[in-house]
Structure formats: C-alpha cells, structure tokens
C-alpha cells in the first residue's frame, strides 16, 4: 500500500486526531495527536491489510524554535513490506505522551532513550528510567538548550587546551 492509501485509512478511522499529512516529500508522514498515539498504533498493527508488526525506529527531535519535541515513529510491515511514519508533537515544557510499549515491545528501550536524552515522559511505561546516562545525571543532553555541567562528581568536564 502506498503512503496516500495508508493515510486515508487513518483519516477514515481517526478523523481529526490525524492533524495533518505530508505526502509530497521523500518520506511521507502523518502528524497525529499525542493522546491518540496508542489507539492509532494498535490500529496500524492489527488491521490485516496494514499489518505494521514492527516498530523500526522511534526517535525524538527537539524543535526548540517551534516550542515542541517531535516523537517520530517509523513503522514497517514484514508481511506487506510497506512503511508508515507517524509524528506526534509534545510541548517542550510539558513533554508527556502515552507509551506504545503495549503495542510493540521494541518501544521499551527506544522510549527510555528518548526519556533519557530528551526528557519526554512516557505515560504508563513499565520502567521509565535513564538508559545511557548515569542514573544521577541532571538534564537531558540532546535538548538544544542543554548546557554541559562544569563537573560531574568532582571531575571537570573541560580541560585546558593542550595546544599552545
């Protein structure tokens, strides 16, 4: 199925919870409401002709100028060999979105990473804690306004330039 057909199936079922679609680009995507993400993902996985059984990638992108963090879902279907891309936007200062861990187990660690590096809270996640950074790290490094702390446990994060 091509992107336009997938988007029209989504629009048919979810009406205005699909905020917009963009099809004139190399990777067509649909922007959806953050609160509806679990229902939409479950629909995409369980419908026989859509069959998106794998969450190929889930990443967060910090659009600081626009004031939101976008969580991008790249879905793929092994039976039908087609793609779908969903984007959900959450405000930077209240970044909360339901987890899709119940739909694809792969989301567990992918969401932990987005929480760790971008500070997006995934509602109802079974184990939302930092993955890559140490447990006592403060701040979310991939955010555009992240300022590196001057030291961590007494170790300075900068050093004098060795070049003279």
């Amino acid at each position: 199925m091509d992107a336009a057909s997938i988007h029209s199936r989504l629009r048919e079922k979810f009406a205005d919870r699909v905020t917009s679609v963009e099809e004139a680009v190399k990777d067509p995507f649909a922007v959806v409401e953050a609160a509806a993400i679990v229902d939409i993902c479950r629909f995409l996985r369980d419908e026989a002709d859509l069959g998106f059984d794998v969450l190929s990638n889930q990443s967060g992108v910090d659009y600081k100028a626009e004031g939101y963090i976008e969580v991008v879902y790249h879905l793929y279907s092994y039976p039908h060999r087609h793609y779908a891309i969903l984007k959900a936007r959450v405000p930077r200062d209240a970044a909360r979105i339901p987890t899709v861990e119940g739909v694809w187990k792969a989301a567990n660690w992918l969401e932990r990473e987005i929480f760790d590096l971008l500070g997006v809270h995934f509602i109802d996640h079974s184990d939302l804690r930092r993955l890559l950074m140490p447990e006592d790290w403060v701040g979310h490094p991939l955010r555009k306004d992240f300022v590196e702390p001057a030291e961590y446990h007494g170790i300075s994060t900068s050093r004098e330039s060795l070049l003279r």
């Binding site: 680009v25 190399k26 990777d27 059984d53 794998v54 969450l55 190929s56 990638n57 889930q58 990443s59 992108v61 910090d62 991008v72 790249h74 092994y78 060999r81 891309i85 694809w104 187990k105 792969a106 567990n108 660690w109 992918l110 930092r130 993955l131 890559l132 950074m133 140490p134 490094p141 991939l142």
Partner: protein
C-alpha cells in the same frame, strides 16, 4: 524446578537459601564490550539479568550536530567499529537521500565490496568470540587468522584496519588499488577450505551443540515484537534481509541466498541457529564478492559534492543491512550544512533489550551464550 530441559530436584536439606544479586561487568572477559548485568540468581539458575548500559555512550548523535555532514563520516565508524563500513554506508546513504545525490556505479560496487568484506570479518569475529566465550580456544584463533587477512586487505584499500572512514558522501574516497581483485579472490579461494575445517571443528562438536541448542529460543513473533533484526531475526525463521527486500545500492544486480534458521541442532531460533545463520552468511558474502569483481564497471567512484553541503530542509530514514542486522539512520536537515538531528537505531540495541526477558530460568553460563549468540557489541548499544 526445570533447568534447560532437565527436571532437577533440589533437596535443600533444611538449609536457608536466598537469592543472590551478582554483578557481571562492566569489565568482564565474556561480555562483548563494556556491558554490565545485575544478575539475580538462585544458585546457578538466574531469576533475572538486568542490563545496565551506557558505559560506552559517547554522544555520537549530538556530535553530528556540531561537525557537519562531511565531518561526521569518521564518527560513524565508531558507532560499530566491528562492522564500520556499514555505518559509513548508512550515513552516506541518508545524506544522499536528503540531498538527492547519486553515487556512480563503480562507487556503489566499491561500497559493496568493502561492505561484504567487512561483513565476513564481523561474522568471523562474532563466531570466534562466541566459541571463545563458551570455552573453546582454538577455533577463535582460526577465525581471527582469517579476519586478520581481511583486515590487511581493507588496510590496503583505505589505510585502516578497523575504523575505515572509506566512504564519502557521494561515493567512496579512493578507487580499488591495482591488483586488488587478485588478492581478494585469492583470499576467498584459500578461505573456503578453512570454513569447512571450522564447521567440522565447531558445529559438529557435541559440547558446543550441547551449550547452544535449545538455549534462549526466540520465536518469530517475539523477535518481531522486539525489533530483532539481521541474523537474529533470520535465525527465528523470518526470511527478511534489507538487501533482498528493500534493495539499495547495487544489490538488485547481485544473486545471493538469505539463510534462515531451521532448528538443525534444536529448536528454530535457539542460540545454535543464530550462530549457524552467521556461518552461512559468510558463504553468501563470498558469493557476492566474486560477482562484484566480475560485474564492476569502470568510471568515477565519487560524485562531486559541495564542501558545505546544504540539503533542503526535511528528514529521511534509510536502513542498511549491517552485519548485525538492519541499521536505521534517521537524519533531519534544517537547510544548513549541519544536521539538525541524527539518530542511529542499531541491531544490538534491540538484542540487548531482549536479554532481560530471556534470562529467567537460564543458567549463569547460558547468559554468556545468549549475549554471544545475539552478537551484541557495546558501541552499537550505547553510541
């Protein structure tokens, strides 16, 4: 209590027992890189093995935002230094998709030659260290002897043994050196009997089979739910390979099979299948290499690309079939010559996440087999 198929009656004779919490790593001879597990064990049998990752996190994704499209290429080697050519290729492909750059045919063939040589080297390392972790020392040296020859070949190609930085946006850095075809084909010819020797030494060995067969069987549905990719997915019976099913580069012109696990030692999707699929893939890569040298055309190897490459604003996602499975590269451009965001989703990341759910009921020694058979490398998990 059931342990790996045996019914074990444990007579504690009135002794008080309690669960132990053990630490495995981050420095450990059998974890593949800097990985740490907190293992809750009841004697020899594990209740849970909780991974603790992040020891090798180098914020490579954030660095891409600071060094630009061209400058990021050497950093991609470090995403998976065991199979670095695929990382180079992935970054090249996603930038080429963003900026509509076409790689010349000869450049694509050079990419595939380098990549398939690297796939053989990576599988040799994976198979060799799996055997070493299980306890056999000699086959490890056999595998690494062949891998050293590949490292020498790749050093002749691009100057480095492990972190190649061979590919560029728009192609590859240099053409194949003169006499390269003879050297590579000569290497393949002498390696075929070595592989046969390896099979008889390792794959038919009862001890090795006993350690691997029926250990941590992953059914296909679970593998797909966790987004296991590459040899791990194919061992569970799902015949999917990005090179065959979403072809890129010159793979449509090449003929090769996609081996899947058939449960030859135990169940489909057990550790032996994951090992066996890698061994079979080495053979397929050798086939691909021979075809590449027959079919490679003349011409330039790289397209001219501006020094300050400014792809139009937008995003792109590509997948490249790395040695560890499909590696997804997602790049967002804001129209400037620095990427706005770069995300790498690697095969080992998902493989690491499934270990916790496979661990209940396995023995401590099986944890080593599981990590090795899933071919987890720490740089891919942490980036």
């Amino acid at each position: 209590m059931s342990v790996a198929g045996f019914e074990v009656e444990v007579d504690r004779g009135g002794l008080e027992t309690e669960e132990m919490t053990l630490n495995m790593g981050p420095q450990h001879p059998s974890t593949h890189g800097v990985l740490r597990f907190v293992v809750k064990a009841d004697g020899e049998v594990m209740r849970r093995a909780i991974p603790d990752v992040g020891y090798l996190h180098r914020s490579i994704e954030k660095i891409s935002e600071k060094v630009g499209y061209h400058g990021f290429m050497p950093y991609t080697d470090r995403v998976d230094y065991v199979a670095a050519m695929f990382c180079n290729q992935g970054w090249g492909m996603v930038t080429e998709k963003l900026a509509d750059i076409e790689v010349p045919k000869r450049g694509e063939y050079c990419r595939v030659i380098a990549a398939e040589l690297n796939r053989i080297a990576s599988h040799l390392l994976s198979v060799g260290t799996m055997i070493l972790d299980i306890g056999a020392i000699t086959p490890f040296f056999h595998a690494f002897r062949e891998r050293e020859k590949i490292n020498d070949l790749l050093e002749e190609l691009c100057g480095a043994r492990l972190t190649y930085n061979y590919m560029r946006i728009g192609g590859v850095a240099w053409d194949l050196p003169p006499g390269y075809e003879a050297k590579v084909l000569g290497f393949l010819d002498q390696m075929e009997p070595m592989l046969e020797e390896h099979y008889s030494l390792v794959a038919d060995n009862t001890l090795f089979r006993g350690r691997c067969a029926d250990v941590a069987t992953i059914p296909a549905a679970q593998a797909i739910a966790y987004n296991l990719v590459g040899p791990n997915l194919r061992a569970s019976g799902v015949r999917y390979d990005v090179r065959r099913d979403e072809p890129y580069s010159v793979y449509p012109e090449l003929e090769f099979d996609v081996p899947v696990g058939t449960g030859i030692a135990g169940k489909v999707g057990d550790s032996f299948d994951r090992y066996w699929v890698r061994v079979l893939e080495i053979r397929e890569s050798m086939k691909i290499l021979r075809q590449c040298f027959r079919q490679i055309p003349d011409g330039p190897v790289v397209t001219k690309v501006p020094r300050k490459l400014k792809p139009p604003a937008g995003d792109a996602y590509i997948r490249v079939e790395s040695a560890r499975g499909d590696m997804g590269w997602y790049a967002v451009s804001d129209g400037s010559d620095f990427p706005y965001r770069c995300k790498v989703r690697t095969g080992s990341f998902a493989a690491m996440s499934i270990v916790e759910d496979l661990s209940p009921g396995l023995m401590l020694a099986d944890l080593v087999t599981v990590i090795a058979s899933l071919d987890i490398v720490a740089p891919e998990v942490d980036r």
